[in-house]
Symmetry: C2
Subunit: 344 residues, 2 copies
């Protein structure tokens, strides 16, 4: 019996059709996937007409209440029992699904998931983790990306454990290379929280990671480490700065390529090269931010994700369930508590 994935079919800019088509694509690639599709039954059924393969593997849970993009977390919490997002999360809580995927309002999703699923033993605060592209074949896991504005050293150590477990699940690395985001690599750089977390991780030699100290933000995409750990404020700033800068450069490039006839000709001739660039930078190829540290797997798909992007998010959720991410994190936390750590 395969665990199934609850899909909030109503979230995302495009709504039902993209979410259902994304689930269908994931199911096309993995014939053992099962789904609980949550949302407006008529619209889901209509979308399923195009995907008989998905229909046979899905159950529909009807609701006509939705969380809107403008709902504040406090407003969204009032929709916990009735909305498609809330019902998808509650299905995980009740054991009716092993993971939930939503493309809805991130703040609402985090608030609902935290209240419904609670943090797992040994984790004080959940964190939002995502995959970022690098110069090498594997993506880098980065967390926290915005769940916690302030973090203490203990939170950062827990994020490192969760990020390393994520990297091991996705890429099968035995000991992912982990670094803390800082404004310099020397021991004395940064905040007290960062220095304390670094000391703690250096001393915790039995963890399933290779902790390598600090990393500066210009190295995140170089492929020199597998997990970047930071508080949610810095992480959000870094993530958005990276996205904005990549967009800035490609905008300049477009402008340059359309500035003269000669450039236009060059652009047409070299289009396969720029397509390759677009493919590598396309957020859909890295879609699926994971809300880590809860008693259950919750994955946020980007609001504007394509069908392929939604399928990637579904596959991330399935992989985390299959590889039992929660159990891996629990074991690593136990190794800190049971003497893997000489500092405390």
């Amino acid at each position: 019996m395969n665990p199934r994935i609850a899909i909030d079919a109503m979230g995302g800019d495009e709504g039902v059709s993209v979410m259902v088509a994304g689930a269908a694509l994931a199911r096309h690639r993995h014939s053992d996937f099962k789904f609980l599709l949550v949302g407006d039954e008529a619209r889901i059924k209509s979308a399923l007409d195009d995907h008989p393969n998905l229909r046979s593997a899905s159950e529909i849970l009807h609701t006509d209440e939705v969380v809107s993009g403008d709902d504040k977390p406090s407003q969204a919490l009032r929709k916990s029992r009735g909305s498609s997002m809330g019902l998808a999360i509650n299905a995980v809580k009740a054991g009716d699904a092993a993971a939930a995927v939503s493309a809805g309002n991130t703040g609402a999703l985090m608030a609902m998931a935290k209240v419904a699923l609670r943090t797992m033993p040994g984790i004080d605060r959940p964190a939002l983790a995502a995959l970022l592209p690098t110069l090498i074949d594997s993506d880098v896991v980065m967390l926290d990306l915005g769940a916690n504005t302030d973090c203490d050293a203990g939170n950062l150590v827990q994020f490192a454990v969760m990020g390393a477990a994520y990297s091991r699940v996705i890429y099968g690395f035995d000991r992912p290379r982990v670094r803390l985001l800082n404004i310099g690599t020397e021991d004395m750089k940064g905040t007290d929280e960062l220095r304390d977390a670094a000391a703690h991780l250096h001393d915790s030699t039995r963890l399933a990671m290779d902790f390598q100290g600090f990393i500066e933000a210009d190295k995140i995409n170089r492929g020199e480490c597998d997990v970047v750990v930071c508080d949610g404020f810095s992480g959000n700033i870094a993530l958005k700065a990276i996205e904005g800068s990549a967009r800035f450069v490609t905008d300049l490039l477009k402008r340059a390529f359309t500035s003269s006839f000669r450039s236009k000709v060059g652009f047409l001739v070299s289009r396969p090269a720029t397509e390759l660039l677009r493919h590598h930078l396309d957020p859909n190829n890295h879609n699926g931010a994971v809300f880590m540290g809860l008693n259950g797997v919750v994955v946020k798909s980007h609001g504007s994700a394509s069908v392929g992007g939604v399928a990637n998010a579904v596959e991330v959720a399935a992989r985390l369930v299959e590889e039992d991410i929660t159990d891996r994190i629990t074991r690593d936390l136990a190794s800190i508590a049971n003497g893997g750590d000489t500092a405390s």
Copy 2:
């Protein structure tokens, strides 16, 4: 009688030759510039042989002591009286020069400048400000970029005043558009410090700026605001993330363009376009980070800056002196103190 600029001729990866050639280029563009060249006299004289135009406008201050790139700020401070960096700063303090330019160790330069020149009245902490490229004709001023790891609301308000003064001096804007870097644009987002600073700036209607609230890091380069204000930790993370991401995209582009014969042909045909991109992203065209808030102008040139980059840094220093940046900041601070601010 024109004010002159003290040049730490020994800093930077290339040392004397690039610093002297950079000063010569600036002098070539502005025949009224005068210089105090600080460092090894024999090497400076030798470098001046190629630049008779600069020699006639320069005095040499000899020393053979230098601050190295590895010196910690505390070690560098012991070289305040004897090193080329220390003597250049002390020339500003003594009134022998109106500004100092160095391409040496940033931490050392900040420590020495702060101790020798002290913060100007009304400023609690100095900040490092730089110009970043945008999609529009003017660069965006961003500060603090690393001088202060933690900042309170008062610091952020002072940085806003200094950054706006910088933007007015460089571009002549009457009321530069100022924003605070945050992880969202809604009022309740971010830290207490950011929310308090925003409330204070919204209420300070008589300041020579148009305060427009928060900005997220993906918008820094869009040209939608003229000054981005942040604490030194966030600013350093954002700046390096932007640099790293731009380099990442151009590295991918290079890889893509060399992946097939067709792409190579396209690249050659469209080289003017990629040259334009390179020009726009070249840090030399935005060289010269200003250490703001001191009793005197101190400009940091990038260690690997080209001759053109050094000339830009010298011109930034000269412009700040000519336009009396210190006086502008003082007047704005007074407008906060004298009732421009209804909140305090």
